[in-house]
Subunit: 201 residues, 2 copies
DNA sequence: GTCTATAAGTTGATAGAC
DNA sequence: GTCTATCAACTTATAGAC
């Protein structure tokens, strides 16, 4: 299994992705050069093109995998179809925060770099974002139908909850005042207040 | 009052600012070149430097004026010191949305371009942002003290309300389904729900 | 105040040696 | 798989003519 001198293909690939993620999150896609990424990985710039066809693909892959992971997490986490809307809402808040809080770099990129995607890459990501939003709105509408929730406008409340949850990623630190569990509980309470649901079960 | 050929100083200055604002909002600070701004203004690149010492100042001025305007708007809008916390909260939501909704470009820049500020420029803007956040938290704490609000954690609720309000700027369009007044009312209601206040007065 | 020309450096991406 | 060398195009900012 002798390899060519200097071959590290089992390691360099992931390192390229990780370095791109870190640098894009810190400085922004447009402000980061391929040479900076190469330096972070520890190779020369030409070597990067063994792992990505171009800079744009690096960004798209990061965002696409982040959103796929989020939708997959929700699919697993949402539980049975016949549960109550209240349980669905609590699960959504729980799932959202558990997925986002340990992924601050990917979250930052996902929200900040949409405009640096090419048109077709943007459409792809936007569809995924929309389907996530729709998952929450479906819960709200269900709760309105069953009478569990008292909501004037499902669209506005959906966006308000999403906004409230997104904001957490801008300040949360793992070593902060609140544990993750305590934080989730507070946001579950606030989500319930926004939909006019009594308390937690 | 004869002017030098090609002199348009009374017009070019504002146009530089406006063009920078539009382009930074659309493509991001790092992705926009001074040549692009010049082209949008309708001058050659050298002429821009009659109006700004450098590109960074263009960004800083835009953000600084946006935040100054916001704080000034709140100073006017907040009303008498001895009013109720509930009135204060309603005024805050009203003021926030009325200021932000017609300024989508400046809002976008203010939230997206913080990391492209130099360290000292960032500190300056961050202080202003913090004082705005503090204004809301003061209202929440007052309501907790008077018993108007039932809130477990003033910091978290402050951030949740800010997050909910910020999110509006990502989708609001003046020609949308809801009038500005109707929108404000819905967000006032949701803010009241988050602080555990009864209804609007 | 605006222009053109220029400085000095960076960019994304490719070709070919090893 | 990685390197070096290279490309053409682009970057911010300045100098000096008009």
């Amino acid at each position: 299994m002798a390899r060519t001198t200097g071959s590290h293909s089992q390691k360099t690939g992931p390192r390229v992705t990780q370095s791109a993620q870190r640098l894009f999150a810190q400085y922004g896609y447009a402000a980061v050069s391929m040479r900076q990424i190469a330096a972070e990985v520890g190779v020369q710039v030409g070597a990067l093109y063994n792992y990505t066809p171009d800079k744009q693909s690096l960004l798209f892959t990061l965002m696409q995998e982040h959103m796929s992971g989020l939708l997959a997490a929700w699919k697993i986490h949402q539980g049975p179809e016949n549960s109550t809307a209240l349980r669905g809402l609590l699960a959504f808040v729980d799932c959202h925060l558990r997925y986002h809080l340990p992924r601050s770099e990917a979250v930052f990129i996902a929200y900040m770099e949409l405009r640096n995607l090419t048109a077709e890459n943007f459409d792809h990501i936007e569809k995924m974002r929309k389907s996530y939003e729709d998952a929450l709105e479906a819960i709200i509408k269900k709760g309105m139908a069953t009478g569990e929730f008292k909501v004037a406008d499902s669209k506005i409340v959906t966006l308000a909850i999403i906004g409230m949850l997104k904001e957490v990623s801008t300040w949360y630190r793992p070593d902060g005042r609140l544990t993750e569990a305590a934080l989730i509980e507070r946001y579950q309470t606030m989500a319930c207040q926004l939909v006019g649901a009594g308390a937690e079960p």
